[in-house]
Subunit: 206 residues, 8 copies
């Protein structure tokens, strides 16, 4: 009766970053801005670290929604980048859909702004087409907690798996021995408490 | 095993506003009054904007529950309006049920006061008769968060989809190009942060 | 795929009040004591009002858990009262089980202290035997919110319906016209905001 | 040893609205946007209602801070409006200072964005020059509660009185009989709960 | 430099209950309604228990503010009762002021709705005339915590002492031996946790 | 459609304590440190009390993650102890897996740090292999509540049962008469409120 | 205008522990029980560590308030112990007052249950007699945060200094070199995070 | 009666960063780690930007408290750096005191870990010697909010001014025209919302 364990596989996963735009970010109030910025960049860094195909998309970026945050452009200079002319659900945009299919991956890691629209709509569409969808909840934001809770409920009922960026990184990596320094650097750059552990450890073992 | 994606369709949806009465509103304490008032009016405005058939109903409006809030009457001067003589579950009122059926729609967007009764009871009844039900959680209110959480749990277990007014508007609209100004006005009137984005954008592009 | 709507029926429902004992109540910290006391008494009053068969039970009441709170004894002087000699899950006590079966009801309305044990265990047992179980979440209490949330998750996964006392009263009553004054009195005695509405209404209509 | 009671006097009070600009408002996260917007407009409406001299000022409104929110311009078409070229503390701007002095009032009612800078700096300066300062805390906003609490502490230590717009309106009005309808309208427009009381009252007394 | 200890003295204290009206109570959202109702009645019961002269007053009770809650009338059938025709600050009403002076007491215990107006204004006025003022914070309520915090700050800066009803009762009583049963009954009726202690204690010592 | 009631059985249960290491514990911020320490030790004490086979495992304990907390080593001097060389999911470690299988138990009680990785990964793996998994949520910790909620959602969707240590103890014990003093001591050592009940009870019955 | 820095001096300080009784502790709800128990024992341990004269007192310990918690008796077998026959303010008890004076200390470190009565009353009395009073806020507890905040306000206005046990220990110790191991043990026993730091440090430096 | 306005002056201010050490940071739980890290670095960057003399100090950095966080060393390679051998109050260290005096400044901007000890003790000592002290509350951290609130109360009673880093920057800068780009860069680097405003503004004005 329960969902089977669909485990993230770095050879079968792609990342979709939806509408992290300068204007829309001012709508996000269910998470502290410092923490949210860090989470989005952590997700971007892990996508790059694991060399996952990554697709960037924006909604009306020439209007009040504003441009994509520049950091994401810099991290993914060569990624597919679809500036949607009007479709609210990115999945309705043929170019976006083609880019997703072109990755050849069945596991989609999705984050975006705002959660109940820019994340939930493509999540529900992708699930309907048989993809496994992993929503990165801490790299997605929206107006308030009530809205977020409603969106989570809708997505999980449809079969999405809720994760946060740290869990995604760990499930993709599988074993520290694959690259201790690489994973350690990712954690050190985005988890102050972990960085402190490394600082103290390094000082004592030098 | 998961629910399929039932997507809101403006040609197949009706709105049910249940018991937003002046007296009952004093019972609502799981959401700030300023925000709640704005959400209810936003839902009403979007129902009107998308020309969705809308049904208003009240419970004992001549007693302490008080009259329907006047703003809703003004927005929907010609809507079906059923002042129920006693039925707590609106679905038990034949006139209300007839009005729902007369819309010919299979997707019901429901909001009301209080969540676990005036919203949950007709939601459960409608689901039992095969309707798709979308509960607008931020335009529904109740005594406290514990009560709300219990009600959400009961409704989602029965198959209801939880949404908030902004997600409803976006899912109905599908594409900004259908009417940029209309959707923009709806957001500007009910999302202060979005209004500010437009204000800054307009000042710079003039 | 979803649960069908099992609607409370006053002719087919019994109430189980489990371990509302003076000592155990000091463990309850997921709800304010004034509110909790009011909710428990409201549930008791509605059980009496709707003449639902009601069963009281306690665990080790001669030890530190303490005696049943006296108000419940006073409201139900003739109810089945099972002081369990040791069974933690009331359902494991044959006398309790016999009392439940003797009611001849298939709908069990359960509340108690603490939620994850005294409520959850008999709830899970009753569900396993085919009863419909309605947990009254606001008349049940436990150590903290984390514990409560875990308990709710376990019970809902097993098929329990979560409700609060107000929803129970409304679903049992069905129609105000069955007895306006009786239901009004119940609300007035246990919902200060509703009492205020009645006070203002009465003053103006005198 | 205690501060004497300096009571607001509508004949001796002026209102200073500092930097309520479209861009800066996106920084405000210690108060819900719907509530904050309502509070700022309520303060503006009361300033107009009591015919208090009102001064508007902005900081760098041609840059990212954005323009003054249009509603304030509309409410005060003839008010002094000082677009400061660079001074962060409005009190350092000679034109602003002259406008304050030109009012001839000794009681200054101040609100703005962000609290610890745009409100606190002119508050401290005005107190130092012997003005009585009333900070309207719910029409002032900032990054988070920690920042707000620090700012309140600094201003109260310097002698500022903390108030909210409702208290300001009541202290200025003194007696309902001065104008029942005017004050009632102000409350009805900005306090949903009060509007509901009026709605129910009106329905019953018609 | 610090305030001296002004200790409540049952021979020198009077109680002022300001505007606990059915309509105004719907504005109170900084405290749970069940708890607030209990606190107000606890304060009333202690005033009666210690035979403190008590003054009741209301603002516009024939309008939307609604009548005084009936419980207070019942507890104090013979108390001074001033229905103010319009003065917002009760201290501005000559009849109220005369009633206060007629008590001959110098210590005023004040509670009311809403805190920053109906409590704060007479508190500031009384302090200005040399009274010692004890604000019963948990029997006073207002719109939200931000408003409450501002009001507390203003009142304490002016010299008011903040207390809650339990502390008032204890400071007035001084010594359990003055009447163990009377004080115990007051606590048992208004503190569920204390009632439970007594229940368990009584069961074991019988 | 609902999950059947799988009841903890002390003859069929094993305990897995995953990565409670001194360094990793500094990452835990969804629960107060004093409470968390108490919960972990309570779970350990109950595992010992019920003589459940217990497996300890750590991740990179010679690096910044730090050593297992010494208390756990002391409580289980003879337990299986697997210091994993690199596998993030303990289930991927053959030695760990062998230890689990060697217990011969089908019910796994799991707790660890951090919840969404060290607990969720082996939970999902064990469920996939047909084990019944009971997650002890209050002896598991992670970065923040958003992360925890996501992890709970993922695990419950896969069929895990969420419990807290107190519920685990009660479900294993079944009947107080099996050993009143033993269970009482467990509660007294880890629930201050329960200890107080016993203290008062003992004083009165001596 | 500001208070001078009165610094705790281990040669001039005494500790007063007021009414930490098993029954009264069930009233404490402004702090988590695990944390509160730890704080009280930490304060007791530091009093013993610094050899500060310590006075224990209780109120009606033979009634429902219950006996002093046994741990405190064990830590201070030879301390002054005054079981007050009825005085609510311990300062009103001559034996208690004599014990305080007999210490010959001018700095009083006070903690107790409940904050606004058992702590605040002797604090205000002691300040009035010229003592320096240091309230240990995290080893004192009461009904809820509103009550605590009111009590803090009253005590600080009268000149009390608010501290927590960790600050008290640090201010008394002055310099780690006075006894590194002793202070480290105190922290290790009562601060899980600090214990973890020591565990990791010790493992790496062995 | 009120404190005069002591305004920060970049020619008369020094910055003291006390005990921001890798181990001690794991004790900080009154503020989110991402936000706290950002605040500390923002304060450091502003100290450097305004060329304020800055003093770094640590407590037992070779023990479990751990080394100074490396970022601070990098930002201030030439700053006074006092590794205290044992004094808990930095002001008790003669080298530290000499460094403070050597700056020749009378305004001290202090932040550190933990607030009630490492910040409060030197703050109280400095105030006692006539310095003006500005505590940067959001770059200081401690165990929990109760502890923080107690510490704030103690410091403000002694005359400290509470500020946050943003307010410090604004008060030091005085006028945007002194260097628009420099201040803008500081805000852009440490306030995500402000960075977004600049991003949108820049995109539209290019």
């Amino acid at each position: 009766m329960s969902k089977p364990y669909v485990r993230l596989d770095k050879n079968n996963a792609a990342v979709l970053l939806v509408d992290h735009q300068a204007g829309l970010l001012s709508l996000v109030r269910d998470i502290d801005p410092d923490r949210f910025k860090n989470n989005v960049l952590a997700l971007a860094d892990l996508a790059k670290y694991f060399k996952l195909p990554t697709i960037l998309t924006t909604s009306f970026e020439t209007g009040p929604n504003g441009p994509l945050v520049p950091e994401l452009k810099e991290i993914f200079p060569d990624a597919s980048y679809i500036a949607r002319p009007g479709q609210i659900n990115a999945w309705d945009n043929e170019e976006f859909l083609a880019a997703v299919k072109a990755t050849g991956k069945k596991q989609l890691i999705i984050a975006g702004v705002v959660t109940e629209v820019c994340v939930a709509f493509p999540t529900l569409s992708a699930l309907a087409e048989g993809y496994d969808v992993f929503v990165v909840t801490d790299a997605s934001g929206t107006f308030n907690e009530l809205t977020r809770d409603s969106a989570w409920e809708r997505m999980t009922a449809a079969g999405a798996q809720l994760m946060t960026w740290f869990g995604v990184a760990c499930e993709l990596h599988r074993d520290w021995r694959n690259d201790i320094e690489g994973l350690g650097a990712l954690f050190s750059n985005h988890i102050p408490d972990y960085r402190n552990l490394i600082t103290s450890y390094t000082a004592l073992t030098k």
